[in-house]
């Protein structure tokens, strides 16, 4: 009885509150002021710069007429064609190697005891902070011209180490893989938690071994996470700037470095061409994400038709 009364009065009062709520809303719209700083920030520093950049990439310098010439120029000059090609292949290589290592790293974490898991996760967490200029420098003292491993190679006569050239494509891949591993592994760990022990048991009851389990159950279940993580790693590499800049300066043609050169140099600024390069970079990033979503849908479609 008492409860019912309390409930009724509570209902009554919450209706009143709601009425006051709505009355307040109808009377004045001053509350919208709270949204103002956010809107100003988003428009001035997110949408306006982005839109002007896209528009600018289609304009002729000085005259301001519409053109595709900026995009054509990317593919006409070897320097910029190389930048696109190098960025694409560096990102594909480093993300590819990264995702394979991340898979085994996350698998090891998933199958290990809690204590080992925590230790390894702390190491990943810690080293994921090690990127950019500090990372490039520590690879220079490790494998640069007078690097510690180069000395070791000379001392023991390991010609592979002795003659290693860090300032090359393979050197960049090596350094990029370093920052892909912690990120990739930490992103893959939650996905492994979705694998159920029963599935493995079911496969072994049906006479399947570990290999069959991974190819028929494990990998297909993990596929969305693998593709998603791959595209994160790809974007991460394709837009990385600090590491390559500190390692090679302008001596290796990569998109982010060529882009910033068009805007930052005091001598010759080519904002229109730079904008086209930047849009190109965005297309690469979005392209890989769309591609991975498409692959996923196709795989999902196949699986669902198997079921039927």
């Amino acid at each position: 009885m008492l409860n019912e009364q309390a409930l009724a009065s509570a209902n009554q009062s919450s209706i009143q509150t709601l009425q006051r709520f709505n009355g307040f809303r109808a009377k004045r719209r001053t509350y919208l002021l709270a949204l103002l700083p956010f809107i100003v920030l988003i428009i001035t520093y997110e949408l306006a710069p982005l839109m002007t950049m896209v528009i600018r990439s289609f304009l002729t310098p000085k005259t301001g007429e519409f053109t595709f010439a900026n995009y054509a120029a990317i593919f006409q000059k070897k320097l910029y064609r190389d930048a696109v090609f190098n960025s694409l292949s560096l990102s594909l290589f480093s993300a590819g190697i990264g995702i394979v290592i991340a898979f085994f790293g996350a698998k090891a974490i998933y199958e290990s005891t809690l204590k080992r898991r925590n230790t390894f996760m702390s190491i990943l967490n810690m080293t994921s902070n090690f990127a950019g200029v500090p990372l490039a420098f520590s690879y220079i003292i490790l494998l640069g011209n007078a690097g510690v491993l180069i000395h070791l190679g000379r001392h023991f006569g390991i010609s592979f180490l002795e003659n290693y050239n860090l300032y090359s494509f393979s050197g960049l891949v090596l350094v990029y893989v370093y920052f892909q591993i912690p990120l990739g592994t930490m992103l893959m760990v939650p996905a492994f938690q979705g694998l159920k022990q029963e599935w493995r048991e079911a496969v072994s009851l049906l006479g399947g071994g570990s290999v069959r389990y991974w190819f028929k159950v494990g990998l297909p279940v993990l596929l969305p996470s693998l593709l998603g993580t791959f595209s994160v790693l790809f974007s991460n590499a394709v837009a990385a700037y600090a590491t390559a800049y500190a390692l090679l300066g302008g001596n290796f043609s990569l998109l982010p470095i060529r882009i910033s050169e068009q805007f930052v140099g005091d001598v010759l600024q080519r904002k229109e061409f730079g904008s086209a390069l930047a849009v190109m970079l965005m297309v690469l990033m979005v392209g890989v994400t769309i591609l991975s979503n498409w692959l996923l849908k196709r795989a999902g479609h196949q699986r669902s038709t198997y079921g039927k």
């Binding site: 920030l41 002007t52 090891a108």
Partner: protein, 277 residues
């Protein structure tokens, strides 16, 4: 038997990966402690490089600049987003999806594109816009927006904000006061994690500060970059100090996360207790 073999394999993988990841870091640390490393082993143990750094008056200013520029935008961005969320939570829950879109765009822009698009737009304009430091602060605000927004949204999901506000209004609060004095304090513990993550992200930034700040606002990362061409040992010492600072920030994140987990578990227990009654 097979299981033990598998454990061994997993342990090997983890040990190898850990060694691979720690090698450059550990080496940089060793490198900063010795005068020379031109043969197999380093020679001449010294703490000179650290002493030199701490005695150099030019060392503190960049660090101070970094600390300022990695906290002010985070504070600003958090305040702006919390205010905006008031309108979403109390008045227009349906605008939530637009908010989410605008807050996740920067995530896919990454530092380079965001920095150059802002620089290209504002560097030619008159003063309040072309001021590099203001530009840097606002660029950072946008850069960390996805993380700050996620933090706030996740904490909002964990509490029933509308109910809390209705209750506070029954007690005579106006909606905004109810939001600021009842909902926001409940969000703080969840926001702190994303707050510190954003600080550590900005602390290590080189891309945006190199493009926009340039010589106008030389931070610790810029100082480090210039030092790279002078002395290897000195640079290593600087890297070790900066990395230690970053670890301090992320240790804070870890401690807070653990505490949050505990408090969530505690709340869960309390809620379960209610159900059983």
């Amino acid at each position: 038997m097979a299981n033990r073999g598998k454990q061994k394999l997993n342990l090997t993988i983890m040990v190898l990966l850990s060694a691979y990841l720690i090698l450059p870091l550990g080496l940089t640390f060793l490198y900063s402690l010795f005068q020379e490393w031109t043969s197999m082993l380093p020679t001449g143990f010294t703490l000179r490089y650290y002493v030199d750094l701490f005695q150099d008056p030019g060392f503190y200013l960049p660090i101070l600049r970094t600390l300022i520029i990695s906290t002010v935008p985070v504070l600003l961005c958090t305040a702006i987003t919390i205010l905006a969320m008031y309108v979403i939570v109390v008045h227009h829950p349906k605008w939530q999806k637009y908010m989410q879109i605008f807050c996740t765009i920067p995530y896919s822009l990454q530092g380079v594109i965001l920095a150059i698009s802002i620089l290209a737009l504002y560097s030619g304009l008159p003063l309040p816009f072309s001021d590099r430091i203001a530009m840097l602060v606002c660029t950072y605000c946008i850069l960390i927006l996805p993380y700050i927004y996620r933090g706030i949204q996740n904490s909002l999901n964990a509490i029933n904000a509308r109910q809390l506000i209705e209750a506070a209004m029954l007690l005579g609060y106006k909606p905004l006061a109810a939001y600021l004095r009842v909902v926001v304090p409940n969000l703080l513990s969840g926001i702190t994690v994303s707050f510190l993550l954003s600080v550590s992200l900005l602390f290590g930034d080189f891309v945006v500060v190199n493009i926009i700040g340039g010589s106008y606002y030389p931070t610790a990362q810029m100082y480090l970059y210039k030092m790279m061409f002078r002395s290897g040992q000195q640079t290593s010492a600087m890297i070790v100090i900066l990395f230690a600072l970053t670890l301090l920030i992320s240790a804070g994140v870890l401690v807070l996360q653990q505490r949050n987990k505990k408090s969530v578990a505690h709340k869960q227990e309390v809620a379960d207790g209610f159900h059983t009654i």
